[in-house]
């Protein structure tokens, strides 16, 4: 599909700047909020309007936008600036539909992120925003893969971003998405027998093209399926492996397991499809959010490069209904 060159990962871990994944950052108040990046490069006139999602994305993307040239920008985000959205909604109620301030409204549209990045870099090329909840990032990656099939000489900025705000937390808590008991470590999370996970947020940006030279890794294939039936997921995975891996072996299975007892059967069943392969999990690092798979793709690239792995298979599902597989290879 395409080669991944530079990346920036803003997460709850030390993944940006000096990368240190051995110094695991603790889960605070049952949340894994991203460590905000340096915002010095953002003009103050723009910064003052930004909500968390736009801010995280700008902080992550600017180092790439300032040093590389892109033919387009493609972002996956399930909710974009939801905090601004609820702030505007609260204005509607609190001021009884009177004179309202437009900034929250303008910033709340999910495409505000991709368009802000276009403004920064005067990028008039392809610009798209995928919002398909747990597969928003995968669809964005597929979009870029198609662009590069159509324009093989081009380069694109691909990103996944979602924020956790108090409002989002309230809605998801009511929906039973988060654990009620205290979780303070990976052990707590993965040994838990209850439903729910711990929320996280973050933003990961990838500079991608078709050039093998100098690449960190190659995204070989993406597969997605919507179903709540375990056997349909494993059947899909079997076909995905036969089609994309052939006879070669896997170095690592990167599992999106999130401590939610409702989702465990999918992860266990998929693990059984690739027996005797090393398994690692990542949600204790980034938390659960709709575009956490972008973090997983960054982690796969990191592990391929630093542990000299041949390939990594990422399996993630969101709410037990949206499943994705990404096969990442050594470039």
């Amino acid at each position: 599909m395409f080669y991944i060159h530079q990346t920036v990962c803003v997460s709850a871990q030390k993944t940006n700047g000096l990368i240190d994944l051995d110094d695991i950052q603790p889960i605070k108040d049952n949340k894994l909020q991203a460590i905000e990046p340096n915002y010095d490069a953002i003009p103050p006139a723009m910064y003052r309007r930004m909500g968390r999602a736009v801010r995280l994305a700008s902080g992550a993307a600017l180092p790439l936008l300032n040093t590389l040239t892109f033919n387009g920008i493609v972002i996956g985000t399930a909710n974009g600036g939801l905090e601004d959205c609820i702030k505007f909604l609260n204005q509607i109620v609190d001021y009884n539909e009177g004179k309202l301030t437009p900034t929250n409204f303008v910033q709340s549209t999910t495409n505000a992120i991709a368009s802000q990045l276009a403004f920064f870099s005067s990028n008039k090329g392809y610009n798209n925003t995928h919002v398909h909840r747990g597969l928003a990032f995968e669809n964005a990656a597929l979009d870029v893969a198609m662009m590069l099939n159509e324009f093989p000489d081009n380069s694109y900025l691909l990103g996944g971003v979602d924020e956790i705000s108090a409002y989002q937390y309230n809605i998801e808590s009511l929906a039973g998405s988060y654990k009620k008991e205290s979780i303070s470590s990976a052990e707590d999370l993965y040994n838990s027998k209850t439903t729910g996970s711990i929320p996280g947020d973050g933003c990961t940006m990838f500079a991608v093209n078709k050039q093998k030279t100098g690449a960190t890794a190659k995204l070989k294939a993406i597969g997605t399926i919507h179903t709540d039936k375990v056997e349909e997921v494993t059947q899909y995975l079997t076909n995905f492996i036969n089609k994309n891996l052939g006879e070669s072996s896997l170095s690592l299975f990167l599992s999106g397991e999130n401590g939610d007892s409702r989702h465990l059967p999918y992860y266990s069943a998929c693990q059984n499809i690739v027996p005797n392969i090393a398994v690692e999990r990542f949600k204790h690092l980034c938390g659960e959010y709709a575009t956490a798979s972008a973090f997983a793709l960054w982690l796969a690239c990191h592990k391929i490069q630093h542990n000299n792995l041949k390939n990594v298979l990422i399996y993630n599902n969101f709410r037990g209904k949206q499943h994705s597989f990404m096969l990442v290879e050594n470039a």
């Binding site: 909604l89 609260n90 204005q91 409204f105 495409n111 368009s115 403004f119 995928h130 398909h132 929906a175």
Partner: protein, 395 residues
């Protein structure tokens, strides 16, 4: 790359809930804009909007919804989706095939439920039935779940160009061999959220909108949905074909969050790119379905972009004068209207126009006209500089 044909259409708009009702109304030059009624808002009884005068509950009953969490947005989308698959005579097997994609688009998601969202987000409730229905993805997921669809499923939100981009994405899935069929479109329902949002930007007109008129005062918000069935030339066989999607392009104006630049680079690049993709010269475009929102900024900028690209600007009109601006649904609804231009070989007049914009002097189509039409260009531009153009050609 495979050719992409339109084999099914489903539409619901302020002009009616079928393709034929929409066609008749366009032909007669009917305006579906009226005073806001169905939303509990200070703007009710005052603001002109393109409202579908059917209560949400009535839609639920008509569509036999037993699932919880269905929003008005999802209902409009489902209505158009059902008509599109029936029109294309798709079997259940066709719909659930791994190579049938579903690409939806919208800009408000379930935020039409202002009061529920307010309570849920501020922890002032025990949780409504809509906790998983507020995001944009929920609208597409409602359709996917109802039909058990297995192919590539996606939702796009680029504000007012959302469903032009979902049509483009579906066509590209087919042309990249990732699907043989893509059901593509978009929806949006009127919402207190968008009414107040656009009002805070002072771009809502308190009168019925007047696209391309020198005295235009802004846009009218509207609601609706449209879906198209796109099929590759390999599987289309002897099916009825409405049109071919020959060109598309997405570009960004990279200028301002809510207005288009002086030179209208985004609109210009989108139209130019669509022509290039279709391998057409500007003079081969017979008609332009403009974005034409009737805001001061859009109509002037779009006119300038047309003057930049076309030596002689082809006949053009804005169907926003018939139905208002359906936001995330606009690209798909206007794709349907562009296809009607092709199948019926006729163009519909732009309503409420009197005098040209001084700086551009362009005059939209002011009378229903029968004419030869081979290629129609349809524009959709959105906040955030997201501009997209599509070209439909006679099949």
């Amino acid at each position: 790359m495979s050719r992409v044909f339109v084999t099914g259409i489903g539409i619901i708009s302020p002009l009616g809930d079928t393709l034929s009702l929409n066609h008749t109304a366009l032909k007669k030059g009917i305006c579906g804009i009226s005073t806001l009624q169905l939303i509990n808002s200070n703007f009710a009884g005052k603001l002109p909007v393109g409202e579908i005068k059917t209560e949400t509950q009535t839609f639920k009953e008509k569509l036999k919804i037993t699932e919880t969490g269905y929003t008005r947005n999802s209902l409009l989308a489902l209505h158009a989706f059902i008509d599109a698959i029936n029109d294309s005579k798709l079997s259940n097997e066709d719909i659930t095939a791994y190579n049938t994609a579903l690409i939806g688009a919208n800009s408000v998601g379930g935020m039409c439920l202002t009061d529920e969202l307010y309570k849920d987000a501020n922890s002032k409730s025990q949780g409504s039935e809509y906790l998983s229905s507020y995001d944009g993805g929920s609208v597409t997921l409602a359709i996917q779940e109802r039909y058990g669809m297995r192919g590539i499923i996606n939702t796009i939100n680029t504000a007012c160009s959302s469903s032009a981009n979902s049509i483009m994405y579906g066509a590209r899935l087919i042309q990249n061999g990732l699907a043989t069929r893509a059901i593509v479109g978009g929806s949006d329902s009127l919402a207190k959220y968008t009414i107040n949002g656009f009002n805070s930007l002072y771009i809502l007109s308190d009168e019925i909108c007047r696209p391309f008129d020198s005295e235009r005062k802004g846009l009218n918000l509207a609601e609706g949905a449209a879906f198209l069935v796109l099929e590759s030339e390999e599987i289309v066989g002897n099916k009825k074909v409405y049109a071919e999607l020959t060109g598309y392009c997405n570009a960004n104006d990279a200028f301002h969050p809510s207005s288009i630049s002086e030179n209208a680079d985004g609109p210009f690049l989108a139209m130019q790119g669509a022509l290039r993709k279709a391998n057409l010269q500007p003079n081969q475009i017979d008609f332009i379905n403009t974005h034409g929102t009737a805001t001061e900024n859009n109509d002037e900028a779009e006119s300038k972009a047309m003057l930049r690209l076309f030596e002689k600007v082809p006949p053009f009109a804005s169907t926003k004068s018939n139905i208002g601006h359906t936001l995330g649904a606009a690209g798909a609804i206007e794709a349907v209207y562009s296809i009607l231009n092709l199948t019926e070989q006729e163009i519909y007049k732009s309503l409420n126009y009197k005098n040209p914009i001084q700086t551009t002097g362009l005059v939209p189509v002011t009378a229903y006209t029968k004419m030869t039409i081979n290629h129609v260009l349809s524009n959709s531009f959105g906040f955030g500089g997201n501009c997209s153009s599509l070209i439909f050609s006679k099949a």
